[in-house]
Symmetry: none
Subunit: 421 residues, 2 copies
């Protein structure tokens, strides 16, 4: 039995060839495969087109030990993966009658009216000799084809169906077939520095890492609102783990308080962790970010224990009525000002009875800018028992990008406050 | 000279085969190519690996009229695209001495110390017979290789360099070589139906569309919280435009009030449009969605004219203090109940002085579920001059997925209210 080292991922769906969609399943798949020492050497996106898909499967199968093909297993005429794989690998399709019955039951159980549409039966067709991989969350099962040169795995496209199926395979039969070395990755996230400066500061470490017994490779990438240092090492899990951990530790040592996390945790997770660790609560008063800060904070499981309240107040009257911002402050400094951000932070802190108040006001665009305060001007303030401080930022780009960056900058102010620096 | 109809995009870079990065240049490239009538039939991501890239170029070139290969043209040893293309297409590399001199000037002009690293000379190597495409924003020029079966275009990876270069080509020589037809796309979004049912209902139209003078192709996709019908047609711009427009109109006729939009507008854009058209204002009281509804509503430019307020109230006391939910209602029905959602909607409507109040309460998970109200249970309510109505939903998946679906369902209730059905 061939050891699985090299994988190719084929994403099927005409929508992936439009300007509107990009395949993201492959990111999850890559993470799972890397975790059991399988490298991804090729990714392909192809449309719901029999001939194109057949060409791709024929071209890709000889180049990989494992081909994971996702999408195109649904009930519609567009869903051609099952038929094409059957044809390319010379396996006639056979209807699995038990599966057809199960599909009918599943359809009936969902309380839908009328009989199951006949096209759903396609999902019960199985290429001869293929093994069926159960799909607990959808009607399209996965299929495992053991070909002479490669394992070909067909999985459904919806992430919530694909992910648990692949996770199970990666913990079970794929792991048994993989080599014993793994690829370990780790991301160090950094706020408040630019890419080239971060690179310059870390350069002396790169050579050291490259020469280590388990070499660590490093790449610096600029992401919205942060810089990321991507570290990876391949080897026995323990050795690779400690190599990237040590590298992350050294990088963090050189970057100091600008490091958000050394384990890929998001800024909202880090802030949440610091609030829990210090037994503190937070409330957020937002204007231009429109609820995004509160939403990101509450993406973290368990956040209801420390996020006490969020108020989105665009209008000046709402800022006064809900947050106690004095109309005179608005008149004097303008609604977009450090003084108003500070008053919003202080106001929600007192009214919500929390330890930390965060206030953000700005101009997300596309309208509302002025020469003195162009689109992208944002003021953020944190208020705590130690008083309040406000900062001015200038962001660039479209409305959503400004919102995101404002959110990132504001949460980073909370992070630095909680770290005491 | 061959007309360019079918393009393949090859993205080169080992980072694109990690779990952390996905190629997005291809979205921009696809938009530009579609605009001049060129279809993308295949996308490939491959690492900085000579053998793999050579295999990909050999496999892809016969399948497309135009191969656009991006990335791997830089000065480092990792940058192999130029050499590999030269080898695959049998063109020796020739140093362009004028270009080497220009690179030295560019290096000196940036005020860097010492002589230019010899590595940089690689960027002056040109495959014999290739035309150089100038890069105004970086040191790696593009290369145009006229092969017998296909045009092979090598472009730098950084979007700010690639985009202006491709835009120029698409307005000039690529357009001259393309057929005179364009590809027009349109997305119809649908709420409250499942994929197979939508498909079943639209099936009679597919055949009609396929047979029309300008045929329209259709794909149905399940996206989080909605179903999408992707329509596309190829032809002279006006004919293609009216073909997809007519198809969208027919699809909308069959799907009725479940259609969110026939032009790809998001639910929040549609709701915003309906509010503006009716001169109405809205305020949102959120619990489990944590601010996401307000954030999505305010992603729409101009939303500050109709989104008056958002309040995120997790704690029961906050629901009472900020929204006027009677403690007795919470005691009797529980914080996650239709009665509380309705009271939240009615409360914020009155307190914010708006026309429409939206209230959402639920259990996003992973904790907090009970047998009667498992994780994913969500109640949403809309309040207006006509009174208030609440609905119960059951969603599945992780916290962020539940949040998103709850958000979608709640906004869809507002949409239906504003449409009067």
């Amino acid at each position: 039995v061939k050891v699985l080292r090299r994988a190719a991922i084929v994403a099927v769906g005409s929508e992936l060839l439009t300007p509107l969609r990009v395949d993201t399943n492959s990111l999850f798949i890559t993470r799972e495969l890397n975790g059991i020492g399988i490298d991804v050497v090729l990714k392909v996106a192809v449309g719901d087109d029999r001939r194109e898909l057949a060409d791709v499967l024929r071209a890709v199968a000889p180049r990989a030990d494992l081909v994971i093909c996702c999408g195109g297993l649904g009930p519609t005429d567009d869903d051609v993966t099952r038929e094409v794989a059957a044809e390319v690998f010379g396996r006639p399709l056979v209807e699995d009658m038990a599966r057809t019955a199960a599909l009918r039951d599943r359809f009936a159980a969902r309380g839908l009216e009328g009989p199951m549409p006949e096209n759903n039966r396609r999902q019960a067709m199985v290429p001869a000799g293929a093994e069926v991989i159960e799909n607990a969350l959808g009607s399209a099962p996965g299929l495992w084809l053991e070909e002479p040169g490669a394992v070909v795995l067909l999985l459904p496209g919806p992430p919530r169906e694909l992910e648990p199926m692949l996770r199970m395979l990666a913990a079970g039969r794929l792991r048994e077939r993989s080599q014993q070395a793994v690829i370990v990755r780790r991301v160090v996230t950094v706020a408040g520095r630019i890419e080239s400066e971060t690179d310059e500061r870390l350069r002396p470490l790169y050579l050291e890492w490259a020469r280590a017994p388990v070499p660590v490779s490093a790449t610096i990438l600029a992401a919205p609102g942060q810089i990321e240092l991507h570290l990876s090492a391949r080897g026995p899990r323990d050795a690779a783990d400690s190599a990237v951990e040590e590298a992350a530790r050294q990088a963090a040592g050189r970057l100091g308080a600008d490091v958000i996390s050394v384990d890929g945790r998001s800024l909202e997770q880090v802030v949440g962790g610091l609030l829990v660790a210090n037994g503190l609560t937070i409330a957020v008063a937002e204007s231009c970010t429109g609820g995004l800060i509160t939403s990101r904070l509450t993406d973290v499981p368990g956040s209801s224990s420390y996020v006490k309240q969020g108020i989105v107040a665009y209008a000046n009257e709402a800022k006064s009525a809900l947050l106690g911002v004095a109309p005179a402050t608005i008149d004097e400094h303008g609604a977009v000002s450090g003084a108003v951000a500070a008053a919003m932070a202080a106001g929600i802190r007192v009214r919500a009875g929390v330890d930390v108040g965060l206030g953000v006001t700005g101009i997300a665009g596309p309208d509302g800018g002025s020469p003195g305060k162009p689109v992208g001007t944002v003021f953020a303030a944190v208020a705590s028992a130690a008083g309040s401080r406000a900062r001015r930022f200038q962001f660039f780009g479209e409305r959503e990008r400004v919102k995101f960056q404002a959110c990132q900058a504001a949460l980073d102010m909370v992070r630095r406050l909680l770290m005491g620096r």
